[in-house]
């Protein structure tokens, strides 16, 4: 197999049935393989990110997907990504939950505490309903990080924000 190009493709905009079917049919027609994908609705808006692998170039992929954006209610972007191996971090995995009254700065304040100790957020969802703001993040912590100390600093930050915080180690049950 020759050199493979990776593309990051994002599709954002007004939700309707069939967006994923159209997008993936076009990419399949170009011989591209979907290596990773994430799609959700954000405040009701369609939001999808795909990583595709194949030998088409950016211009070809963009041109092929142009029909998706022609209605004016979807935005499509295509970017070439360097092929890189992500180094496996020898560390521990945690789930961080924060919930409380909505106010500006909850996410930035909380994730700053994580960043300060070299923690890496690998997945993040925030939700708002009424006045209730909820953040759930999956966090990789380097081996030498003292998780108890991190929880203390997270609690201090949470107390300043008037929200609650929990940090639980992810337990995978090997079957």
């Amino acid at each position: 197999m020759g050199a493979v190009t990776l593309h990051a493709i994002t599709v954002l905009g007004h939700d309707r049935p069939g967006i994923i079917a159209e997008t993936t049919a076009i990419l399949g027609g170009l011989g591209l393989n979907l290596e990773d994908s994430s799609m959700t609705l954000l405040r009701g808006h369609f939001a999808m990110t795909l990583i595709s692998a194949g030998d088409a170039d950016v211009d070809t992929v963009e041109a092929a997907l142009a029909s998706l954006a022609s209605g004016g209610d979807l935005t499509v972007s295509v970017r070439e990504l360097p092929v890189e191996r992500v180094a496996d971090l020898a560390g521990t995995s945690w789930v961080l939950s924060v919930h409380g009254g909505d106010r500006p700065g909850i996410v930035s304040s909380v994730v700053s505490r994580v960043a300060e100790v070299g923690g890496n957020i690998t997945d993040l969802t925030t939700r708002l309903a009424g006045d209730l703001y909820v953040l759930v993040a999956e966090v990789d912590l380097p081996k030498d990080v003292d998780s108890d100390a991190l929880l203390v600093s997270l609690r201090e930050t949470a107390a300043e924000l008037g929200v609650g915080v929990s940090l639980h180690e992810v337990e995978a049950d090997e079957l």
């Binding site: 789930v95 703001y133 759930v136």
Partner: protein
């Protein structure tokens, strides 16, 4: 699990033993701070706790689909909750309606992940891993009798959810991952 493992005293308990009329109270919703506060231990024989026990049962009864209600959910930061999973389709064995004070999980095993909702978090549901077999110890309101009961399946989940409320924890604190909290699509 055979019904021989049920605690007869708990299974036989009904709110009529409290001998007070329960009142329907307003259920508070997150982000109310009482829901994130560790509840105080109580004297299960105190008249106000007996009244609260009756109120919790009365409020649970009028709330569609409600299988349990803890004191912090009605604004009282104390360790009292009621449970009744008898009508729920996921229930296996159960103890009917009962109220426990100062309850704690003393044994737990066989974790399973399932999606939970909560009257105090009306707009979300969440995937939470909990034990499907627990042993819980607490006190019955009124008599103050200490009881230890084994619960499984849905009753075990309900007990852990309510004991969490008494400790100031919501299912949001136990989310199984970043994609474990969902916008609620159907309301009971």
């Amino acid at each position: 699990m055979s019904s021989a493992e049920l605690n007869d005293d708990v299974a036989a308990w009904t709110e009529s033993s409290l001998a007070v009329e329960g009142r329907v109270l307003e259920v508070v919703t997150a982000p109310a701070s009482v829901l994130s506060t560790v509840g105080a231990d109580v004297d299960p024989t105190a008249p106000e706790i007996v009244q609260l026990a009756a109120d919790l049962v009365a409020t649970m009864r009028v709330s569609p689909g409600c299988v349990g209600l803890a004191a912090p959910q009605v604004g009282e930061s104390v360790k009292v909750f009621c449970v009744d999973v008898s009508e729920h389709p996921k229930t296996r064995d159960h103890h009917g309606t009962f109220v426990l004070c100062n309850a704690e999980v003393v044994e737990s095993s066989r974790n399973e992940k399932a999606r939970e909702g909560c009257m105090s978090v009306p707009d979300f549901t969440g995937d939470v891993k909990r034990a499907t077999r627990v042993v819980v110890r607490g006190q019955l309101p009124g008599t103050g009798e200490t009881v230890t009961l084994r619960a499984n399946a849905f009753e075990a989940r309900a007990l852990q959810h309510e004991i969490d409320h008494c400790d100031g924890l919501l299912f949001l604190d136990r989310a199984a991952g970043a994609h474990a909290i969902h916008a609620r699509k159907t309301y009971l």
